[in-house]
């Protein structure tokens, strides 16, 4: 367990982010939580690629082992996906603010419930 403390660390951060997503009512903060959650998952991927004493996977003279490039590639893609999601989410938040006048989950739900009871 001790050798794998990096994973434990990443998991704890991931769970903090996850908690923010599912518990917080502020839509903006939810998105930031999502971001934290995802970045921590990226850390898990990157950690598994590390080789002790290794170097970055760019070929130079020298014979130190290379850290594993594949997780790096995957995470580059995942970061991009993450920022795309974030941009869309923020766009939605802005529109929600314009439509409802608030970005608090419970207030939006209250407004929707009121609509349903009304005509």
């Amino acid at each position: 367990m001790a050798a794998n403390f990096v994973y434990v660390f990443a998991i704890v951060i991931a769970m903090i982010g996850f908690y923010v997503v599912i518990d917080r009512g502020n839509l903006l903060k939810k998105l930031i939580g999502l971001n934290i959650f995802q970045t921590a998952v990226f850390l898990i991927y990157i950690s598994m690629g590390k080789i002790s004493g290794g170097t970055a996977p760019i070929l130079y003279d020298g014979d130190a082992p290379f850290s594993n490039p594949l997780p790096h590639v995957l995470i580059l893609t995942a970061i991009v996906v993450g920022v795309a999601t974030l941009a869309l989410g923020l766009g939605l938040v802005v529109r929600i603010k314009e439509a409802y006048g608030t970005i608090e989950e419970d207030e939006i739900q209250a407004q929707e419930a009121a609509e349903e009871d009304g005509p």
Partner: protein
């Protein structure tokens, strides 16, 4: 921020260098860290800085929404088109080998072209996003 003379002068000096750095990152992705995506982001940052300092209207003149939108699509087309080129030349989709007589060169060209596609799309999307968000903040004027 239009009245801050110092800011305007400094950013005017700065922006070409930011763009130059972006191009360096774009071209140098084969050798060091970096590549199309990072270059696109840095390149877009130059435009964002310009927009912040000189105002959205000026930015729209330099980078009209329609042109940027077309570039968004163009980048993806370059990438996907490279794949089709490999296909037409007798390889499978996205196979770079057939692109040149020497397969190694083919791979090198292929990577350069698709990185260019990545860079264009990423930069254009980032500018689009900035323009859209900033455009929401100010009252409709035109």
């Amino acid at each position: 921020m239009k009245e801050h003379l110092i800011l305007r002068v400094i950013s005017k000096e700065l922006i070409p260098f930011v763009m130059l750095f972006a191009l360096y990152v774009q071209m140098h992705g084969d050798y060091g860290p970096g590549g199309g995506f990072q270059a696109g982001v840095v390149f877009a940052a130059a435009f964002v800085l310009y927009g912040l300092v000189f105002g959205l209207k000026t930015l729209r003149k330099v980078a009209p929404v329609a042109v940027v939108g077309a570039l968004v699509a163009l980048g993806l087309l370059i990438y996907a088109g490279t794949g089709v080129a490999g296909l037409l030349l007798g390889g499978t989709y996205l196979e770079y080998g057939p692109l040149a007589h020497d397969p190694v060169h083919g791979h090198h060209y292929g990577i350069m072209v698709i990185e260019l596609g990545v860079g264009i799309t990423v930069a254009a999307v980032m500018i689009t996003i900035f323009q859209s968000f900033a455009g929401r903040g100010e009252p409709e004027q035109d």
